[in-house]
Amino acid sequence: MSKQITIPFGPQHPVLPEPLHLDLVLEDEKVVDVIPTIGYVHRGLEKLVEKREYTEYVFIAERICGICSHIHGQTYVQGIEQIMGLEIPERAQYLRTIWSEYSRMHSHLLWLGLFADSMGFESVFMNSWRLREHILDDLEATTGGRVIQGVCKVGGVRKDISPEKLDEMVKGLRGIEHELQALMNVFLHDSSMQHRLKGIGVLSNDDAYYLGAVGPTARGSGIAIDLRETGYAAYGKINFKPVVEPDGDCYARCAVRAKELFTSIDIIEQCVKKIPDGPVDMKVTGAPDGEFLSRAEQPRGEVIHYIKGNGKKNLVRHRVRTPTFTNIPPLVTLLKGCELADVPVIVLSIDPCIGCAER
């Protein structure tokens, strides 16, 4: 038996745009144990509820993470609206759904690019991000922001989209669909991609479920958890099927995200067809008194905002459990037994979002 050595991975590491630190215990090239350390991005923003009123706090909620920004804002305001018993206009629900799906597409394309980069496919990285700019252009045209949109507010949304623009958005997405398809062919069918991904970092169905995996990490292991099925916002009126892959390896997790891009386009198209006319916000008075666990599907999986208010303008508690946080135990399990050279690919395969996880 060879001697064990521990090597540090991160916090400043070329493959990670964000700081995450792992102590990898190695025997030769095999990883036998992993100890994660977090806290490099911990701000303590949950405690800001003491200083910001619940309506202002939406801005903080959106800045939990710059990639999943819109859905954080949306989950937070949905929780507040639930506690206050607000029935917000239907058009606002549809708009939130459309922006959610745009966020998902931008996040998935971002991830696909980074993932390709972690395997050394530089031009695939560039192409993913080139297509992502199309999504960002639409987000910017409709909300004013590229990555942090700031459109959600308690009681509705801040911006409306004209019917012409909605049609144009769908046409634009259908227009880039063949390019997306070509890109996905690389991820799904290229032989060197398959060689790098198939059978690497396998998470069994049982492990994924009981270790708390969510989002594509769970769906890549055959577990159909997709919070959109609970029908929040306008999802209850939309037909879609969660993408599930059975194999549990890096390839399966990649395939889930790749295929979800097309589900998102479908959802946006359905929303545009069904969106009713009407106002996009309502007047809100009073303050939340009660507690609620608001849940939504982020690009990375289930996010939970626990909100507790006592009838004052400042909340008592806002706690966020982000998908990456609950995906850490599965990651630790995944890395045990892998080869050192596969570590970057496996770490990225859960789509870690450290900004989210540490808040």
């Binding site: 916090p11 400043q12 590491h13 070329p14 745009p17 964000e18 700081p19 806290g39 490099y40 991005v41 911990h42 701000r43 303590g44 923003l45 405690k47 800001l48 200083k51 801005f59 903080i60 800045r63 939990i64 993470c65 710059g66 990639i67 920004s69 971002l110 690019g113 990285f125 560039m126 192409n127 991000w129 080139r130 700019e133 960002l136 922001g145 590229r146 990555v147 942090i148 979002c353 450290i354 900004g355 989210c356 540490e358």
Partner: protein
């Protein structure tokens, strides 16, 4: 302009940023904005880098990491604080774990505001940094060695170096 300003290499570190500015920095490198055509390369090695791009504010855990990266870079070097959190702490300034802008710890040369900073502003900031870099090179400016708690002292060329 000399060779240096024609191919500046940057190193990026995410202090406690929310990712918004980080992905915009990456967006600068990709086809829409493509700063690589100016010879700008994002490197992972502090010793290769001329420009230190920091996003997010200082927190308890990354204090040392930022100091290490800064101290390891060779002169001349320029620090660009990208995004309002790196400039002043932004919306998170009142958080218990946020010590404030990057300039509380290391000298900052260029401030790029925005939440998130737009790619255009980031490129503008880097281009401004090139001017500062060139000036520092001409004047042989020696950067201070940064130690903990924001106190800086001049480690190298204490008596001779231009300040």
């Amino acid at each position: 302009m000399t060779y240096l300003a024609k191919s500046p290499w940057i190193i990026h570190y995410d202090a406690s940023s929310c990712n918004g500015c980080d992905i915009e920095i990456l967006a600068c490198l990709t086809p829409m904005y493509d700063v690589e055509r100016f010879g700008i390369i994002n490197t992972g090695n502090p010793k290769h880098a001329d420009i230190f791009v920091v996003t997010g504010s200082i927190n308890e855990a990354n204090r040392e990491v930022i100091q290490n990266i800064y101290n390891q870079m060779s002169d001349p070097k320029v620090v660009v604080a990208v995004g309002i959190c790196a400039c002043s702490g932004g919306v998170f300034r009142e958080c218990y774990n946020v010590a404030g802008g990057i300039d509380k710890l290391i000298p900052v040369d260029v401030y790029v505001p925005g939440c998130a900073a737009r790619p255009e502003s980031i490129i503008d900031g880097i281009v401004t940094a090139l001017g500062v870099l060139e000036e520092k090179r001409n004047k042989h400016v020696r950067s201070p060695m940064v130690t903990d708690h924001g106190h800086t002292h001049h480690h190298r060329h204490a008596e001779g170096g231009a300040q």
